[in-house]
Amino acid sequence: MSFTLQFPVPALDQVGVDERAAKFTSRSIKNEAKRVGLKMAVSMMDLTTLEGADSNGKVSYLCRKARQPMAERYDCPPCAAICVYPNQVAHAVTELEGSGIPVASVATGFPSGQYPLDIRLEDVKDAVNSGAAEIDMVISRGAFLEGDYARVSDEIAAVKQACGDAHLKVIFETGELQTYDNVRFVSQLAIEAGADFIKTSTGKVSPAATLPVTLILVETVRDHFLATGKKVGVKPAGGIRTAKEALQYLVMVKETIGDDWLTPDLFRFGASSLLGDVELQLAKLVDGNYQSADYFSKG
């Protein structure tokens, strides 16, 4: 099972990573900066529903919300994408027609990925054929933890091929990989295997996205960009529920990798409940006082 990366990964110190991440939370984001940051967060949001109970009706609600999250006077941009299970892709594409909002589909036997590779690849092709412009795959965590990195890498490459023109986001489920060294290693592995985006979590395992883990993803992307000029995106997903947390992630991106990544093309939030709090905060900036949450549709 010998496997070597093209670019070796540096050592990490967990205490230092946590300490650095905590510093981003002490930035004070006020007034205009807050307005800009909150709108940016909405424009980076993959509005997500991933439940067994998802129906066409539920997805329709979500699509309408993504087109126009808030009343016109708040000047809030649309969300970056809708993220659904493969079965709902075709319906979401129809619902979003003319909006320019892409549909992202989880695939490869999400969330466990514990299915034969040919079935996982069919899952991807089916989603792409149904109109998904972005595919969020899960890696084989079992294979990774066994040390079979070659298999993890080969599978990502195979999924990338099955995606065709669709963008590939590779989900690590960092809550299962656990150590920061694993997170750094798998980030580099996925980038080298062809990921367009690297993504922390499915949202089905706790802990999902955290600031320190996302920082490691961002640093890996940054170092790879500096070495090769190639830009890979980052998507923290799951567990980000408040506007304040979203702003902390943006602070981290701004101070770690710079302006070029402050765009939905290279940074996304995977979230289902974050939008609500962002709306409340944005409305407060416009109206001067907090509104009841009842004034904002739940999507």
């Binding site: 230092g16 990573v17 650095r20 004070s28 984001i29 006020k30 205009e32 900066a33 710079g258 302006d259």
Partner: protein
Amino acid sequence: MSDLKFGSAFDYAPAPETTPVSMRKKYELFIDGEFVPPRAGKYFQSVNPATGKRHARIANGDASDVDAAVKSARRAYEKVWGPMAPAERGKYLFRIARLIQEKSRELAILESMDGGKPIKESRDVDLPLVAAHFFYYAGWADKLKYAFPGRTPEPIGVAGQIIPWNFPLLMAAWKIAPALACGNTVVLKPAETTSVTAMHLAEIFQEAGLPAGVVNIVTGAGETGHALVGHPGIDKIAFTGSTGVGKRIAKSVATSDKRLTLELGGKAANLVFEDAPMEQAVEGVINGIYFNQGHVCCAGSRLLIQESIHDEFVSRLERRIETLRVGDPLDKNTDIGAINSKAQLGRISELVGSGIEEGATLHESSCALPAEGFWFRPSFFTGVTSSHRVAREEIFGPVLSVLTFRTPAEAIARANDTCYGLSAGIWTDKGSKIFSMADQLKAGVIWANTFNKFDPTSPFGGFKESGFGREGGLQGLAPYLSF
């Protein structure tokens, strides 16, 4: 060549600390529990280093004021504080610690206004540590016999304490808390450029009901400190400051029976090996040298980097200093504040000039600096050898000197090639290397895979010309006791 852009996307709006504080126009001396004007009626101006403007007048205590303060401390020692039950002394210290916590926001703001340090440091580092020191030594007050089993610890008497301008309140706490816990009384002289918060601390002593004369504070310049050091009524001198002044104090005290502890300058080496956690090492080096504008005696001012990773590490540092935010100390997003005084800015500029003249390469942040006040861009020199002045002399500013080494043995030799020995840092992923390096480094405090971490339970002090005696922890009690 692709590089990162740190531009204006998602720019942070100004976030000034707006809690109202009461900076007085005039500060008197604190003697025998009262605020009293200096006998000669003289005052000097205190300046806000972020604007260069005067903001308060400070009493200039002379020898007669020092004499009154020492006499008051002696009376308090003999009549009240010395005879008091140790547990009672502890109660006062606990009360002081709690009051500091209650007023910590106001004190942090005053500290930043008077000294130029960023509010996020005075708020998140200085003030929590100030309170922690009083809490910690309050706990020791009635347990001294357990600290030194089999011996009978007794207080010394009156301690004369002279503190520097880089951590005004924190240094006051480091000095006052153990002295009082051990049953001594105190005459404190704050640094000339940062006297304001010491006087607010005096108000807290009053509010805590601390008996008159237990702590006296005499503000002033060098002559005031000189009078204190030379006063025959003083039993012990504790000094934190420059090595030059420390040597003069040592000479003067040598002809008396006063006890002495000195905490002086430093030129700490931060050793980064090729197997180090790179990104965290960069952060540690940044924190090591730019924390408090580099006005830190234990600052990691010499970066010793393994040759194999020199170029990569330097480019990482170059990128990182671009994201440091320099400016208004009261803005909550400021990373680097103002240089403490015009005189210090002059010293930094002179030494940086010598580095350029001696052929080292200066790398500095491209950040804009405010038009008024005293400022210096976060900078570092590459191409530095042990013979450069910037590798030997303490700059005490936001300027790092980068040197290289090839092997662990060379790293040790270069790190110890200095007259100082206050602190050092080791960065490696290998635990065994940490221990073998730490064994050989001649420095009082050694951090592994971190830097500039302080805790009241941990002793702090130097080797060689960085001084003698320890502050903090159990060891910090001994200099204030006789057995």
